[in-house]
């Protein structure tokens, strides 16, 4: 007779279920992306997923792990989807594939695989590619670009030339460049009035993609996959620094609302900074982690040379996460007055 240990009851939960819910929560954002930016993202999602799963299978085989169990845990899929969503939608197929392979092979498995990676693999992929291929990683579809689905796919697969019309920028980048070129002559309010680029409050199309991530993130919170700490602290950190500078000089600095709905802020706050493996796990640690990521993201995206700072902000906070957690251990039952 096998002497199985207590408890004999187990909740209906699994890693796979957790990862599946994260993927489901990304769907509203993906839907908005597809509708407003273009169906190319779906192609990128497929490319990223296939390469990530292939790389995962190879690495599991190499490491001698049970293939069906680990391949089905869904963690590689989450990484792949995040990569597809943070890369430019019309990036060449090999760039996305390279990111996915690097994320799975180096950032995940070489560090010990599921649960062991000190950095978020998707963010590592983004960082590596933006450093190695800065031009390609900065080519976003020009605003209002009308390109047939087939043409979009051709661009991704390299069957059509990467026309100049593609070398646009994100609204965030556009604002930064305009402010830089204007050299104090231009006003943020004037620039943002251009609804063709900046939409209603943060970026035409992109603001609704961010809203989709917000919706999915709230659902994750409702499902208790994530806690409120990281997203709220991220928003608070970003709002604090952007709000202070905006109040100081509204002509030169955009509002917190613009920043929260631009670039990777919303995706980062709900889906990336909340990654428990590479982030903080104690309640106070999560608050520090989120707030730090929010502040650093702002500093990099506004004063730095990269189009957005969310990826680097999260990676930098990943570095500090173990120490933050060590210092933020909550007091235990019966020891609260001492702590």
């Amino acid at each position: 007779m096998m002497l199985a240990p207590a408890p004999f009851l187990l909740k209906e939960v699994s890693v796979r279920r957790v990862m599946t819910q994260v993927c489901i929560a990304l769907l509203p954002g993906i839907a908005a992306y597809t509708w407003l930016i273009g169906p190319a993202i779906l192609v990128q999602l497929v490319i990223a997923s296939l390469t990530a799963l292939l790389a995962e299978a190879v690495m599991l085989k190499v490491r001698g792990k049970p293939l069906p169990l680990f391949l089905a845990d869904g963690s590689a899929l989450v990484t792949a989807w995040l990569i597809a969503l943070v890369f430019p939608p019309l990036a060449p197929w090999w760039l996305v594939a390279l990111g996915a392979v690097f994320a799975i092979v180096v950032a995940k498995h070489l560090y010990g695989g599921l649960g062991q990676n000190p950095f978020n693999p998707a963010m590592i992929a983004f960082a590596v590619c933006i450093v190695a291929f800065p031009a390609l990683m900065s080519q976003w579809p020009s605003v209002g670009l009308q390109l047939a689905t087939a043409d979009q796919i051709n661009v991704i697969l390299g069957l059509a030339p990467r026309v100049d019309a593609l070398s646009g920028a994100t609204p965030l980048d556009a604002l930064k460049t305009a402010l830089k070129l204007g050299e104090g002559e231009v006003d943020v309010a004037q620039l943002l009035a251009n609804q063709d680029i900046f939409g209603n409050f943060a970026g035409r199309g992109w603001e609704w993609v961010a809203a989709g991530y917000l919706l999915g993130g709230l659902w994750l919170w409702r499902r208790r996959i994530i806690t409120w700490h990281v997203p709220v602290a991220f928003a608070a950190g970003l709002t604090a620094i952007s709000g202070a500078l905006w109040l100081y000089n509204p002509a030169h600095f955009a509002s917190p609302l613009f920043h929260m709905f631009s670039g990777g802020a919303m995706l980062g706050a709900f889906f990336i900074a909340t990654d428990p493996v590479s982030g903080c796990t104690t309640p106070r640690g999560k608050l520090i982690f989120g707030a730090g990521a929010g502040v650093i993201a702002y500093v990099i995206r506004v004063f730095g040379g990269y189009p957005d700072g969310v990826a680097f902000a999260i990676l930098l906070m990943n570095l500090g996460a173990p120490l933050i957690d060590l210092l933020c251990q909550p007091p235990i039952f019966g020891m609260k007055d001492k702590a």
């Binding site: 007779m1 002497l3 199985a4 240990p5 207590a6 408890p7 004999f8 009851l9 187990l10 909740k11 939960v13 699994s14 890693v15 279920r17 957790v18 049970p66 169990l69 680990f70 845990d73 963690s75 695989g113 599921l114 649960g115 062991q116 806690t227 428990p276 493996v277 796990t281 104690t282 251990q329 909550p330 007091p331 235990i332 039952f333 019966g334 020891m335 609260k336």
Partner: protein, 592 residues
Amino acid sequence: MLRELFRFKGGVKLPANKTQSTGLPIAVAPLPSRLAVPLHQSIGGKPRPVVQAGDRVRKGQLIGEADGWISAAVHAPTSGAVAEVAMHVQPHPSGLDALCVVIEPDGRDEWIERTPVDYRTLTLEELRARLQQAGVVGLGGAVFPTHGKLTPAKTVPMDELVINGAECEPYITCDDLLMRERAEEVVRGAGIFRDLLQPKKVLIGIEDNKPEAAAAMRAAVDALGEPFSVVVVPTLYPAGGAKQLIRVLTGKEVPASKRSTDLGVQCFNVATAYTAWRAIAHGEPVVSRIVTVTGNVQAPRNYEVLLGTPMNELLGLANPHPDTGGIIMGGPMMGFLVPDPRAPVTKATNCLIAHDERLFPPKPPEMPCIRCGACAEACPHELQPFEMYWFARAKNFGKTQEYHIFDCIECGCCSFVCPSRIPLVQYFRFAKSEIWAREREKNAADGAKARFEFKQQREEREKAEKAEKLARAAAAQAAKKAAEAAAAAAAPDHAPDHAPDHAPDHAPASAAAAAAPPPVAVDAEKAAKMATIQAAIERAKAQREAARPKNTEALSADQQRAVAEIEQRRAVLEPVLTDAAAAAGESPGKAE
């Protein structure tokens, strides 16, 4: 009555599965074929057997005498003959045997003479002693001797007495039925505890999934006119843990490092209160208990069972389905599969669950920890189970203690919620037992070291005393030699070869070294020892010099005098140099 309730963090909601066994009243289990009554049925000292094979015993007769204050007596559950006092399989996950009194029942179930007393006529000490002699222990599962918990702390006033009727584990209903059917005696037992501890309030906590029990207890409290509060608490596992119930009812958090009485609160199970009352007011020691028999059986029910009844016979009463694959003792969260179905029912046996894979599916394979933190959220003691898991896995037991592993009550909430299916509680049990084992080893090693050091000290003392005697003799001898040497130096025609046992060149130095006390102030013992050593060295040197001719042999008297002077200065300086070197933490040899 409305009362403010407190919450404890964490906890899990579980399917109750209690109604199966509450449909029928408590039944008295028939006399089993044989009883194997373990002598060690409580925390603390192992009771000594006071019967032998062949003795005739009556129901309630003492068969195991309490050993020490934290220990409780054991009694014959029925009348009959003692077949043997021998090792017998135990309901313990280890599967190890323990000493049992095996009784062949005679079927008459004949009691000893029972002497009911009015406990108010007893002193508090007598009352505690009676509870100990009657074998009253915590029947919630911890089996701590009850009398040991009935002394209030000296410095802290007793605020609350908590009577635990929460029964939070799924499937178990023995306390529920006890409260429904014997509420009055439970309340009277609580009255005894109240009189011993003198708390300001008595709170009886019952989970809200047992309305009948709560109603019965309320009625009994009212009927007896006791000022006790029956408090219905939300059903949330592990609300029935003593510390959790104390928290819910009083807001106090008892850490692992403290006794609850240090915070002015104490907690007893309802069944313990019941047996305490039976023991005092009826003179009946604890020889039986109520056991829920449920799970994969046709007729789940609660039975009043004699201690020592083989579990398979008890389970047989409920008609287990043929596919039953083992017996869980306790609930599905904290219980264990008994290694042998013939193991006896003990005071800790509150529930038997017929195990079956439909009720308790086999565990899916373990995955790596993804640090999701679900375990930390579920932990009622607000620990960080996943951190303890990493360190337990790495056998970094010091770190597990930094993360308060000994505050873990092994409730199983973390394992229950873990999406990676990691048997966290197992890791913690492993870490705890490793720490205990190392502690024991260390204590054993410390003891051995202390004994060794004591022996060494004694030997050194004896050696020093002996050396002192020898030193005195050696000093005298050296002085004599010095005198001889001086005489030899005075006579130039003296040939050193003729005296193989002494060296004239060095004799003055040795005499000076032996005769002059070391310049540093030391006690007599040390001085004597040094003198002995010095004398021995000089003897060895003398022998060596005698055996080997040297270039210093053909020296003039002036030269010899100069050498002797130098040697003398050196002899005075040497101990100083040696001491300085030792103080600098270097070996004397390196000082040069």
